[in-house]
Symmetry: C2
Subunit: 195 residues, 2 copies
Protein backbone atom coordinates (compact mmCIF):
# COMPACT_ATOMS: atom_id res chain seq x y z
CA UNK A 1 0.00 0.00 0.00
CA UNK A 2 1.50 3.28 -1.04
CA UNK A 3 1.51 5.68 1.87
CA UNK A 4 -1.60 7.82 2.18
CA UNK A 5 -1.39 11.57 1.76
CA UNK A 6 -3.37 12.03 4.93
CA UNK A 7 -2.59 9.39 7.51
CA UNK A 8 -4.65 10.52 10.49
CA UNK A 9 -7.82 8.49 10.95
CA UNK A 10 -9.63 11.68 11.76
CA UNK A 11 -9.21 12.44 8.07
CA UNK A 12 -11.16 9.31 7.25
CA UNK A 13 -14.00 10.37 9.50
CA UNK A 14 -14.09 13.79 7.90
CA UNK A 15 -14.24 12.23 4.45
CA UNK A 16 -17.07 10.00 5.59
CA UNK A 17 -19.11 12.90 6.87
CA UNK A 18 -18.43 15.15 3.92
CA UNK A 19 -19.50 12.34 1.64
CA UNK A 20 -23.04 12.87 2.93
CA UNK A 21 -23.11 16.67 2.83
CA UNK A 22 -20.72 19.63 2.61
CA UNK A 23 -19.94 21.31 5.90
CA UNK A 24 -17.69 23.91 7.43
CA UNK A 25 -15.00 22.78 9.88
CA UNK A 26 -16.72 23.77 13.05
CA UNK A 27 -19.82 21.92 11.98
CA UNK A 28 -17.75 18.83 11.23
CA UNK A 29 -16.29 19.04 14.68
CA UNK A 30 -19.71 19.36 16.29
CA UNK A 31 -21.20 16.57 14.26
CA UNK A 32 -18.40 14.20 15.08
CA UNK A 33 -18.84 14.88 18.73
CA UNK A 34 -22.61 14.66 18.56
CA UNK A 35 -22.38 11.24 16.95
CA UNK A 36 -20.04 10.05 19.64
CA UNK A 37 -17.21 9.49 17.24
CA UNK A 38 -14.87 10.72 19.90
CA UNK A 39 -15.13 7.29 21.45
CA UNK A 40 -13.55 5.68 18.43
CA UNK A 41 -11.41 8.42 16.96
CA UNK A 42 -9.07 10.71 18.77
CA UNK A 43 -9.49 14.36 17.91
CA UNK A 44 -9.71 17.82 19.28
CA UNK A 45 -11.17 20.96 17.99
CA UNK A 46 -7.78 22.02 16.66
CA UNK A 47 -6.95 18.79 14.92
CA UNK A 48 -10.12 18.99 12.86
CA UNK A 49 -8.96 22.23 11.30
CA UNK A 50 -5.55 20.77 10.69
CA UNK A 51 -6.77 17.65 9.01
CA UNK A 52 -9.19 19.58 6.85
CA UNK A 53 -6.30 21.67 5.65
CA UNK A 54 -4.36 18.53 4.83
CA UNK A 55 -7.29 16.96 3.02
CA UNK A 56 -7.68 20.07 0.96
CA UNK A 57 -4.00 20.14 0.06
CA UNK A 58 -4.29 16.52 -1.00
CA UNK A 59 -7.25 17.34 -3.25
CA UNK A 60 -9.62 15.04 -1.37
CA UNK A 61 -11.95 17.84 -0.39
CA UNK A 62 -12.46 21.32 -1.82
CA UNK A 63 -13.78 24.62 -0.50
CA UNK A 64 -17.20 25.27 -1.96
CA UNK A 65 -18.20 28.65 -0.65
CA UNK A 66 -17.36 31.14 1.99
CA UNK A 67 -20.15 32.63 4.00
CA UNK A 68 -20.29 35.09 6.79
CA UNK A 69 -22.83 35.47 9.52
CA UNK A 70 -22.76 38.88 11.16
CA UNK A 71 -19.45 39.63 12.80
CA UNK A 72 -18.55 35.97 13.32
CA UNK A 73 -15.47 34.72 11.54
CA UNK A 74 -15.94 33.56 7.99
CA UNK A 75 -16.94 29.98 7.49
CA UNK A 76 -15.60 27.99 4.61
CA UNK A 77 -17.78 25.11 3.51
CA UNK A 78 -15.96 22.05 2.18
CA UNK A 79 -17.21 19.26 0.00
CA UNK A 80 -15.71 15.93 -0.93
CA UNK A 81 -14.12 15.52 -4.37
CA UNK A 82 -14.23 12.40 -6.57
CA UNK A 83 -10.69 11.64 -5.46
CA UNK A 84 -11.90 11.98 -1.92
CA UNK A 85 -14.65 9.45 -2.45
CA UNK A 86 -12.19 7.02 -3.94
CA UNK A 87 -9.84 7.50 -1.04
CA UNK A 88 -12.62 7.00 1.48
CA UNK A 89 -13.63 3.73 -0.08
CA UNK A 90 -10.09 2.47 -0.49
CA UNK A 91 -8.99 3.47 2.98
CA UNK A 92 -11.95 1.87 4.69
CA UNK A 93 -11.52 -1.32 2.71
CA UNK A 94 -7.93 -1.47 3.76
CA UNK A 95 -8.68 -0.94 7.43
CA UNK A 96 -11.37 -3.58 7.50
CA UNK A 97 -9.62 -6.11 5.32
CA UNK A 98 -6.14 -6.13 6.77
CA UNK A 99 -5.28 -6.10 10.45
CA UNK A 100 -2.38 -3.94 11.49
CA UNK A 101 0.00 -4.24 14.35
CA UNK A 102 -1.00 -1.98 17.24
CA UNK A 103 0.63 -0.87 20.45
CA UNK A 104 -1.79 -0.84 23.36
CA UNK A 105 -0.29 0.86 26.37
CA UNK A 106 -1.02 -2.01 28.70
CA UNK A 107 0.99 -4.27 26.43
CA UNK A 108 3.94 -1.93 26.59
CA UNK A 109 3.69 -1.87 30.35
CA UNK A 110 3.56 -5.66 30.46
CA UNK A 111 6.75 -5.91 28.49
CA UNK A 112 8.53 -3.87 31.17
CA UNK A 113 6.68 -5.13 34.18
CA UNK A 114 9.70 -6.96 35.55
CA UNK A 115 10.81 -3.60 36.90
CA UNK A 116 8.06 -3.73 39.53
CA UNK A 117 7.94 -5.97 42.55
CA UNK A 118 5.45 -8.83 42.06
CA UNK A 119 3.54 -7.95 45.19
CA UNK A 120 2.77 -4.48 43.96
CA UNK A 121 1.96 -5.85 40.53
CA UNK A 122 -0.70 -8.06 42.01
CA UNK A 123 -2.21 -5.14 43.86
CA UNK A 124 -2.24 -3.06 40.73
CA UNK A 125 -3.79 -5.82 38.66
CA UNK A 126 -6.57 -6.18 41.20
CA UNK A 127 -7.17 -2.48 41.02
CA UNK A 128 -7.23 -2.67 37.24
CA UNK A 129 -9.79 -5.44 37.40
CA UNK A 130 -12.12 -3.29 39.41
CA UNK A 131 -11.90 -0.49 36.89
CA UNK A 132 -12.29 -2.83 33.95
CA UNK A 133 -15.41 -4.27 35.48
CA UNK A 134 -16.81 -0.82 35.89
CA UNK A 135 -16.21 -0.21 32.22
CA UNK A 136 -18.01 -3.43 31.47
CA UNK A 137 -21.08 -2.29 33.35
CA UNK A 138 -21.04 1.06 31.62
CA UNK A 139 -20.79 -0.64 28.25
CA UNK A 140 -23.66 -2.95 29.05
CA UNK A 141 -25.79 0.05 29.96
CA UNK A 142 -24.91 1.70 26.68
CA UNK A 143 -25.88 -1.39 24.73
CA UNK A 144 -29.28 -1.38 26.40
CA UNK A 145 -30.02 2.24 25.59
CA UNK A 146 -31.90 1.97 22.33
CA UNK A 147 -29.86 2.75 19.24
CA UNK A 148 -31.57 3.22 15.88
CA UNK A 149 -29.98 0.00 14.70
CA UNK A 150 -27.43 -2.34 16.28
CA UNK A 151 -25.08 -1.58 13.42
CA UNK A 152 -24.49 1.75 15.11
CA UNK A 153 -23.21 -0.10 18.12
CA UNK A 154 -20.95 -2.49 16.32
CA UNK A 155 -17.89 -0.61 17.45
CA UNK A 156 -19.10 -0.92 21.02
CA UNK A 157 -19.54 -4.63 20.59
CA UNK A 158 -15.97 -4.87 19.40
CA UNK A 159 -14.74 -2.91 22.38
CA UNK A 160 -16.66 -5.14 24.72
CA UNK A 161 -15.07 -8.18 23.22
CA UNK A 162 -11.64 -6.73 23.83
CA UNK A 163 -12.64 -5.74 27.32
CA UNK A 164 -13.76 -9.24 28.21
CA UNK A 165 -10.53 -10.63 26.85
CA UNK A 166 -8.50 -8.24 28.94
CA UNK A 167 -10.43 -9.08 32.07
CA UNK A 168 -9.85 -12.76 31.48
CA UNK A 169 -6.18 -12.17 30.88
CA UNK A 170 -5.71 -10.15 34.05
CA UNK A 171 -7.40 -12.87 36.06
CA UNK A 172 -5.11 -15.50 34.64
CA UNK A 173 -2.07 -13.34 35.18
CA UNK A 174 -2.88 -12.77 38.84
CA UNK A 175 -3.22 -16.46 39.35
CA UNK A 176 0.02 -17.22 37.61
CA UNK A 177 1.82 -14.90 39.97
CA UNK A 178 0.09 -15.93 43.15
CA UNK A 179 -0.43 -19.66 42.70
CA UNK A 180 0.84 -21.12 45.98
CA UNK A 181 2.56 -24.10 44.43
CA UNK A 182 3.86 -22.95 41.06
CA UNK A 183 3.43 -19.18 41.26
CA UNK A 184 6.02 -16.88 39.72
CA UNK A 185 5.99 -14.58 42.72
CA UNK A 186 9.01 -15.88 44.65
CA UNK A 187 11.31 -16.21 41.67
CA UNK A 188 10.25 -12.83 40.43
CA UNK A 189 10.79 -11.24 43.83
CA UNK A 190 14.26 -12.77 44.09
CA UNK A 191 15.20 -11.52 40.66
CA UNK A 192 13.84 -8.15 41.56
CA UNK A 193 16.18 -7.96 44.55
CA UNK A 194 19.21 -8.21 42.33
CA UNK A 195 18.80 -4.69 41.02
Amino acid sequence: MTKRKVANLLGLAVLAYLSRAPMHPYEVSKTLRAHGDDRSIKFTHGSVYMVIEQLEKAGLIAAQETTRNGQRPERTVYGITPDGRAELEDWLRDLVGVPRHEFPAFGSALSLIGALHPDVVVDLLRQRLVLLEEQRSAAAALADGAAPHPLFLVEEAYRQGLLEAEIAFVHRFIEQITDPVSGWGPMWAAYHQTQ
Copy 2:
Protein backbone atom coordinates in the same frame (compact mmCIF):
# COMPACT_ATOMS: atom_id res chain seq x y z
CA MET B 1 -2.46 12.47 37.33
CA THR B 2 -0.38 15.51 36.55
CA LYS B 3 0.85 15.35 32.98
CA ARG B 4 4.19 13.64 32.54
CA LYS B 5 7.16 15.60 31.24
CA VAL B 6 7.89 12.84 28.76
CA ALA B 7 4.73 11.23 27.45
CA ASN B 8 6.09 8.80 24.86
CA LEU B 9 6.13 5.20 26.11
CA LEU B 10 9.48 4.79 24.48
CA GLY B 11 10.72 7.02 27.28
CA LEU B 12 9.48 4.48 29.79
CA ALA B 13 11.37 1.71 28.08
CA VAL B 14 14.53 3.78 28.04
CA LEU B 15 14.17 4.48 31.75
CA ALA B 16 13.69 0.79 32.39
CA TYR B 17 16.84 -0.14 30.54
CA LEU B 18 18.96 2.62 31.99
CA SER B 19 17.82 1.55 35.45
CA ARG B 20 19.90 -1.59 34.95
CA ALA B 21 23.00 0.00 33.46
CA PRO B 22 24.10 3.25 31.82
CA MET B 23 24.25 3.18 28.05
CA HIS B 24 24.73 5.42 25.07
CA PRO B 25 21.78 6.05 22.75
CA TYR B 26 22.78 3.75 19.99
CA GLU B 27 23.27 0.94 22.46
CA VAL B 28 19.82 1.58 23.90
CA SER B 29 18.38 1.37 20.44
CA LYS B 30 20.16 -1.91 19.73
CA THR B 31 19.23 -3.42 23.05
CA LEU B 32 15.58 -2.56 22.66
CA ARG B 33 15.51 -4.17 19.28
CA ALA B 34 17.46 -7.20 20.44
CA HIS B 35 14.97 -7.79 23.22
CA GLY B 36 12.10 -7.59 20.80
CA ASP B 37 10.64 -4.53 22.46
CA ASP B 38 9.69 -3.28 19.06
CA ARG B 39 6.74 -5.63 19.21
CA SER B 40 5.28 -3.76 22.15
CA ILE B 41 6.64 -0.26 21.74
CA LYS B 42 6.75 1.81 18.62
CA PHE B 43 10.11 3.40 17.95
CA THR B 44 12.67 4.11 15.33
CA HIS B 45 16.31 4.82 15.49
CA GLY B 46 15.62 8.55 15.37
CA SER B 47 12.96 8.59 18.05
CA VAL B 48 15.34 7.02 20.55
CA TYR B 49 17.66 10.00 20.25
CA MET B 50 14.75 12.35 20.57
CA VAL B 51 13.31 10.77 23.65
CA ILE B 52 16.70 10.60 25.32
CA GLU B 53 17.07 14.30 24.79
CA GLN B 54 13.66 14.85 26.35
CA LEU B 55 14.45 12.64 29.31
CA GLU B 56 17.64 14.55 29.90
CA LYS B 57 15.86 17.89 29.75
CA ALA B 58 13.36 16.57 32.28
CA GLY B 59 16.18 15.53 34.61
CA LEU B 60 15.21 11.86 34.51
CA ILE B 61 18.52 10.77 33.06
CA ALA B 62 21.91 12.45 32.96
CA ALA B 63 24.96 12.26 30.75
CA GLN B 64 27.70 10.43 32.59
CA GLU B 65 30.66 10.50 30.27
CA THR B 66 31.57 11.10 26.72
CA THR B 67 33.84 8.66 25.02
CA ARG B 68 35.25 8.39 21.59
CA ASN B 69 36.35 5.37 19.66
CA GLY B 70 38.67 6.18 16.79
CA GLN B 71 37.09 8.46 14.22
CA ARG B 72 33.55 7.39 15.07
CA PRO B 73 31.24 10.05 16.40
CA GLU B 74 31.37 10.71 20.12
CA ARG B 75 29.17 8.59 22.29
CA THR B 76 27.50 10.05 25.32
CA VAL B 77 26.65 7.56 28.02
CA TYR B 78 23.49 8.28 30.01
CA GLY B 79 22.48 7.02 33.41
CA ILE B 80 19.18 7.20 35.26
CA THR B 81 18.78 9.76 38.04
CA PRO B 82 16.86 9.28 41.30
CA ASP B 83 14.04 11.30 39.80
CA GLY B 84 14.16 8.97 36.85
CA ARG B 85 13.78 5.92 39.05
CA ALA B 86 10.83 7.47 40.79
CA GLU B 87 9.22 8.31 37.48
CA LEU B 88 9.79 4.80 36.15
CA GLU B 89 8.09 3.26 39.16
CA ASP B 90 5.23 5.72 39.19
CA TRP B 91 4.60 5.55 35.48
CA LEU B 92 4.57 1.77 35.36
CA ARG B 93 2.24 1.60 38.34
CA ASP B 94 -0.11 3.95 36.63
CA LEU B 95 -0.13 2.00 33.38
CA VAL B 96 -0.76 -1.30 35.09
CA GLY B 97 -3.23 -0.06 37.66
CA VAL B 98 -5.51 2.09 35.57
CA PRO B 99 -6.84 1.23 32.13
CA ARG B 100 -6.93 4.02 29.63
CA HIS B 101 -9.18 4.56 26.67
CA GLU B 102 -7.50 3.51 23.43
CA PHE B 103 -8.27 3.91 19.77
CA PRO B 104 -7.61 0.75 17.79
CA ALA B 105 -7.81 1.41 14.08
CA PHE B 106 -10.26 -1.39 13.45
CA GLY B 107 -12.63 0.22 15.93
CA SER B 108 -12.43 3.50 14.08
CA ALA B 109 -13.16 1.73 10.83
CA LEU B 110 -16.13 -0.03 12.38
CA SER B 111 -17.62 3.24 13.46
CA LEU B 112 -17.61 4.40 9.83
CA ILE B 113 -18.34 1.10 8.17
CA GLY B 114 -21.77 2.16 7.06
CA ALA B 115 -20.05 3.91 4.17
CA LEU B 116 -19.25 0.55 2.58
CA HIS B 117 -21.70 -1.78 0.93
CA PRO B 118 -22.48 -4.77 3.15
CA ASP B 119 -21.45 -7.26 0.49
CA VAL B 120 -17.98 -5.88 0.27
CA VAL B 121 -17.81 -5.66 4.05
CA VAL B 122 -18.46 -9.36 4.31
CA ASP B 123 -15.72 -10.09 1.82
CA LEU B 124 -13.29 -7.91 3.67
CA LEU B 125 -14.16 -9.44 7.01
CA ARG B 126 -13.50 -12.89 5.62
CA GLN B 127 -10.18 -11.72 4.33
CA ARG B 128 -9.38 -10.25 7.72
CA LEU B 129 -10.21 -13.54 9.38
CA VAL B 130 -7.69 -15.35 7.25
CA LEU B 131 -4.98 -12.90 8.22
CA LEU B 132 -5.94 -12.96 11.88
CA GLU B 133 -5.73 -16.71 11.90
CA GLU B 134 -2.28 -16.52 10.39
CA GLN B 135 -1.26 -14.24 13.19
CA ARG B 136 -2.65 -16.73 15.65
CA SER B 137 -0.49 -19.49 14.26
CA ALA B 138 2.57 -17.29 14.34
CA ALA B 139 1.88 -16.39 17.94
CA ALA B 140 1.44 -20.00 18.91
CA ALA B 141 4.80 -20.80 17.35
CA LEU B 142 6.40 -18.00 19.31
CA ALA B 143 4.94 -19.27 22.55
CA ASP B 144 6.44 -22.69 21.89
CA GLY B 145 9.91 -21.41 21.24
CA ALA B 146 11.51 -21.65 24.66
CA ALA B 147 11.75 -18.37 26.56
CA PRO B 148 13.86 -18.13 29.71
CA HIS B 149 10.69 -17.70 31.73
CA PRO B 150 7.04 -17.32 30.73
CA LEU B 151 7.03 -13.91 32.34
CA PHE B 152 8.96 -12.75 29.31
CA LEU B 153 6.05 -13.79 27.17
CA VAL B 154 3.33 -12.25 29.20
CA GLU B 155 2.85 -9.46 26.70
CA GLU B 156 2.44 -12.09 24.00
CA ALA B 157 -0.20 -13.84 26.05
CA TYR B 158 -2.06 -10.59 26.34
CA ARG B 159 -1.89 -10.04 22.62
CA GLN B 160 -3.15 -13.52 21.97
CA GLY B 161 -6.11 -12.89 24.20
CA LEU B 162 -7.00 -9.80 22.22
CA LEU B 163 -6.49 -11.66 18.98
CA GLU B 164 -8.88 -14.43 19.96
CA ALA B 165 -11.44 -11.86 20.97
CA GLU B 166 -11.16 -10.11 17.65
CA ILE B 167 -11.50 -13.33 15.73
CA ALA B 168 -14.63 -14.19 17.67
CA PHE B 169 -16.03 -10.75 17.08
CA VAL B 170 -15.44 -10.86 13.34
CA HIS B 171 -17.15 -14.22 13.14
CA ARG B 172 -20.19 -12.93 14.96
CA PHE B 173 -20.28 -9.81 12.84
CA ILE B 174 -20.22 -11.75 9.60
CA GLU B 175 -23.11 -13.83 10.80
CA GLN B 176 -25.10 -10.82 11.89
CA ILE B 177 -24.80 -9.39 8.42
CA THR B 178 -25.43 -12.56 6.48
CA ASP B 179 -28.02 -14.37 8.59
CA PRO B 180 -30.66 -15.36 6.05
CA VAL B 181 -33.62 -14.61 8.26
CA SER B 182 -32.61 -11.64 10.41
CA GLY B 183 -29.43 -10.46 8.73
CA TRP B 184 -28.65 -6.77 8.47
CA GLY B 185 -27.51 -7.08 4.88
CA PRO B 186 -30.70 -6.03 3.05
CA MET B 187 -31.51 -3.08 5.26
CA TRP B 188 -27.93 -1.96 5.15
CA ALA B 189 -27.77 -2.29 1.38
CA ALA B 190 -30.96 -0.27 1.00
CA TYR B 191 -29.68 2.45 3.23
CA HIS B 192 -26.45 2.42 1.33
CA GLN B 193 -28.30 3.11 -1.92
CA THR B 194 -29.64 6.37 -0.58
CA GLN B 195 -26.30 8.12 -0.81
